[in-house]
């Protein structure tokens, strides 16, 4: 059980308790259906042919032999997808360029990474489809490749796009390069700041590319009917976004495409975008049969959006009294084959935890011969936080100050300007540091070869568009339908907020995730937004239902609606009619549904704002074996401002999951390439995610500083927890071995090499 520091006791009956999740039984009995668990009569199996080269021009593709193989019903290439206009559409950081996206779904002129999709077949069995792939002949002109971000930025590096001129540099460079964009955020006067510093600490750090590591490979079943209407059953983090992107990639109207949300086996941002859906649909359009595609683990590692590798330099100027006066960060991120790494998030979040008058963050988005990056849990922020929190740790040590005290002294508070403009307005940062300072773990003694590291981390969280419908059944039970995919128990949290608002028991509310034709638009289940934004829509819909119920009670009692209030699940007479009638329960009113106006239904949509950021401060104790460089994580404590925990067990679960991913990222996870640019560890044996015996218990401290902009004080909790973890582990290892580790992952060979170098 985690400790929960609650400012004041609320009289809530459901919110804050730990009920069983409504979708739990199907998951523990194997009945729940994930992306790969759907089938349909007459279904064909689809398989995708992928490039064996890291960078090559496609001269020609001969599919005739594959086409002729008995049992093969269709072979497709990028010619089966419409060409797209070259333009950046939508918000800068997540600018979508369909010219790039269609090429990432299936290569056109060139393949940009090993595993890049080149063609696909649909056949009557898996083995036939597998055999057909071998019969497709692709004539490649192999080109030199580049993967490391620093190498990709060199003027002589092989170019992925002959015409890519760096955006964000004025005047624009005259030569093309792999740098798709430079961006900069600045406040104050850097030179003056550093001039006023007593000590300046600087480090250059690198991180390797990593993968989200979701256990369920991408999978879908797609059906495209001859009349142009289509359906897809897929596991994703947002079936509405999958519908919009897939429809555009197929060149079809969104209204003709209905996407059903399968249960999703983990995503962490990696399933915000489509990979197999457009291919399966295109194959179904060609064959007139439903087509099922299930990716292998190797395909997921080689072709599905990893988090970027990076090369960073951070410089911090600090006065002897502990005040940070200046900070400068340069963040170079791999974008993969197409522009669009999360380097802007990284630049914005880097110094966000702190009140520093003179700050600059410069970011470079660099394409290279790797799969296009996708979001991975607070995308970009854990990477820049690793660099900043390492140098903050060095600064604290340089002036001999307790690392938590040093952070507390410089922490951002409401009114502190951010480097991207607006001032911080929400509390919750300091509280997490104070919670950790009071934690017994922070003072516990350390033995030989042991070290303790701390770090803080900021994440924006997200609001945005959500819809919710509430239907009251005649027996007083309630259906709550939303369009938010449920990765982590959000059906439970939404049902709890509905029950609390309506004043009825939790198990009277049945939440469902509705498909794209059954509920209003719902944005991704990403950015830690579901319980916040969709929660607001659910509460507003429940309030509309309550107004409806009050009006019906007024009808039943033949009084004016103003004289009816709703309290503890009942309509009660008030005002002029106070005391004249027995309260009417929801069930009682629902039973008189017909005579008082018909079905009791409300659907609400919101574009939720008033987002409060997520903030976490974490502590890690490690022991390093000086003879082998092996790291054992002894203890991990994570304090996170969660606003108000609706379902504390699943909030704790988010923190434990984020910390575990951060520990893996810091110690053992990396993409390893051979000289030909091919991935040598495209499997769970050599891509080492933490196993059960690698990890300690992950102690959680739920710091609850409610967000006034949410009916139940909710703040997003899903992502802030991973932001400090990389640095907390790295700082711990650095203290254990007395040398600053500046490269992730801290694999045993790297630690042993650091140990043999002088201090």
């Amino acid at each position: 059980m985690s400790t929960r520091l609650k400012p004041e006791e609320k009289k809530l009956k459901v919110v804050g308790t730990r009920p069983l999740r409504p979708d739990g039984v199907p998951k523990v009995t194997g009945i729940a259906r994930y992306g790969a668990d759907y089938s349909a009569p007459g279904m064909l199996w689809g398989r995708i042919l992928r490039s064996p080269h890291a960078h090559a021009r496609i001269r020609s593709i001969d599919t005739s032999k594959a086409q002729a193989l008995p049992g093969v019903k269709a072979v497709m290439t990028s010619a089966d997808l419409p060409e797209q206009k070259f333009e950046y559409v939508g918000p800068e950081r997540v600018a979508v360029n369909f010219w790039h996206m269609t090429r990432n779904i299936m290569a056109r002129e060139k393949v940009f990474y090993e595993g890049h999709a080149v063609a696909a077949v649909a056949a009557i069995s898996k083995s036939t489809a597998e055999e057909a792939l071998r019969l497709i002949e692709v004539d490649y002109e192999v080109l030199p490749h580049v993967i490391d971000v620093e190498e990709a930025m060199r003027p002589d590096a092989p170019l992925l796009f002959e015409d890519m001129i760096t955006r964000g540099i004025d005047p624009a460079p005259d030569r093309p390069s792999n740098i798709s964009k430079r961006l900069e955020f600045k406040i104050g006067d850097l030179d003056a700041g550093f001039a006023a510093a007593d000590e300046i600490v600087e480090a250059s750090l690198k991180t390797a590319p990593v993968h989200q590591g979701y256990l369920e490979p991408q999978a879908c079943l797609a059906r495209f009917d001859p009349d142009g209407q289509a359906e897809v059953w897929a596991s994703s983090q947002g079936h509405f976004v999958i519908r919009a992107l897939t429809a555009k990639l197929l060149g079809m109207e969104m209204g003709n495409l209905r996407v059903h949300p399968a249960e999703i086996g983990g995503g962490f941002g990696g399933k915000n975008v489509p990979y197999v859906e457009p291919v399966a649909l295109a194959l179904s359009r060609k064959t007139g049969h439903p087509v099922k595609i299930v990716m292998s683990r190797e395909e997921v590692f080689k072709a599905c959006g990893p988090a970027p590798g990076s090369s960073m330099t951070v410089r911090i100027g600090v006065r002897k009294d502990g005040k940070i006066v200046a900070a400068d960060g340069v963040f170079k991120f791999q974008a993969g084959a197409f522009p669009g790494s999360p380097v802007m998030n990284a630049c914005m979040c880097a110094f966000a935890p702190y009140d520093i008058p003179n700050v600059r963050s410069v970011g470079y988005d660099v394409v290279c011969n790797r799969p296009k990056t996708a979001a991975y849990r607070a995308p970009g922020s854990p990477v820049s936080a690793y660099a900043v929190e390492s140098v903050v740790d060095m600064a604290a040590a340089r002036i001999g100050m307790d690392p938590l005290q040093f952070r507390l002294q410089n922490i951002a508070r409401p009114g502190t300007p951010t480097v991207w403009g607006p001032k911080h307005t929400h509390e919750g940062f300091t509280e997490t540091i104070q919670a950790l300072m009071k934690h017994p773990g922070y003072r516990a003694p350390l033995g030989r070869n042991q070290g303790r590291g701390v770090a803080s981390g900021y994440w924006f969280n997200n609001g945005g568009e959500s819809s919710a419908a509430v239907h009251v059944n005649e027996d007083g039970t309630v259906v709550v339908a939303t369009g938010s995919a449920d990765l982590s128990g959000t059906r439970a949290s939404l049902a709890m907020m509905a029950a609390e608002t309506l004043g009825i028991d939790y198990d009277k509310v049945r939440p469902i995730v509705a498909d794209t034709a059954s509920i209003g638009y719902g944005h991704l289940a990403a950015g830690s937004r579901t319980t916040f934004a969709t929660g607001i829509a659910v509460v507003e819909a429940c309030k509309k239902v309550i107004d409806n119920l009050r009006a019906r009670a007024a009808m039943i009692w033949d009084v004016s609606a103003e004289d009816v209030i709703w309290e503890d699940g009942c309509a009660r007479p008030a005002g002029g009619s106070k005391g004249r009638f027995e309260p009417l329960s929801l069930k009682a009113i629902a039973a008189k549904r017909g005579v008082t106006g018909g079905p009791i239904v409300a659907e609400v949509s919101v574009n939720a704002g008033g987002v409060a950021p997520g903030f976490a401060t974490e502590l890690c104790d490690v022991e390093v074996d000086p003879e082998t460089g092996q790291v054992k994580v002894l203890r991990f404590v994570a304090a996170q401002d969660v606003g108000r925990a609706i379902h504390p067990s699943y909030v704790e679960g988010q923190i434990q999951g984020g910390a575990a991913q951060g520990i893996g990222w810091a110690l053992n996870e990396e993409y390893i390439y051979d000289e030909a640019g091919r991935l040598t560890n495209a499997g769970f044996l050599d891509y080492r995610v933490p196993v059960a015996s690698d990890l300690p218990r992950i102690e959680t401290v739920l710091v609850e500083v409610p967000n006034p902009n949410h009916p139940f004080g909710v703040k997003g909790v899903g992502e802030a927890n991973i932001v400090p973890s990389l640095a907390a582990v790295s700082n711990a290892v650095s203290h254990a071995i007395g040398r600053r580790m500046t490269e992730l992952p801290m694999s045993p060979p790297k630690i042993l090499k650091a140990l043999s170098s002088e201090r």
């Binding site: 523990v28 790969a36 668990d37 256990l215 995610v689 059960a692 218990r697």
Partner: protein
Amino acid sequence: MAKHHVTATVNGDVVEFLCETRQSLLDVLRDELNLTGTKEGCGTGDCGACSVTIDGRLMCSCLVLGVEAEGKAIQTIEGMAAGKDLHPLQRQFLEHAALQCGICTPGILIAARSLLERNPDPTEDEVRYWLAGNLCRCTGYHKIVDAVLDAAREMRRP
């Protein structure tokens, strides 16, 4: 080439199926017998999501051929509950919120039951090392271990 005709017992019921030599038991369970509760996470025996027991022995069904199941007794997640009564492990996993996305849960439940059959009173370390072959990316394993320990306690009570 003609497929193999295999007779085996799955969750107590005799079943017959046809399979190609190279077809794994995992694919047979999912694609021929429509028991989709056993999941594929990697296809190389590194993630444990496809765990089943064969004649009481815990195995990855992706590394077993369908044809090898001839005459064997196979237990999958679909057979873990006794009809409508959940197994204590299934209940404790729900109580402890020991699953988030749930894709690894069937494999972990099968593996945990196999552990408790051999070791009714495991230490936390014994649980963690036994479950090292079952990857989970959502939970960080903390609540999974607690749920297994609580289920063990419950099952030891007379």
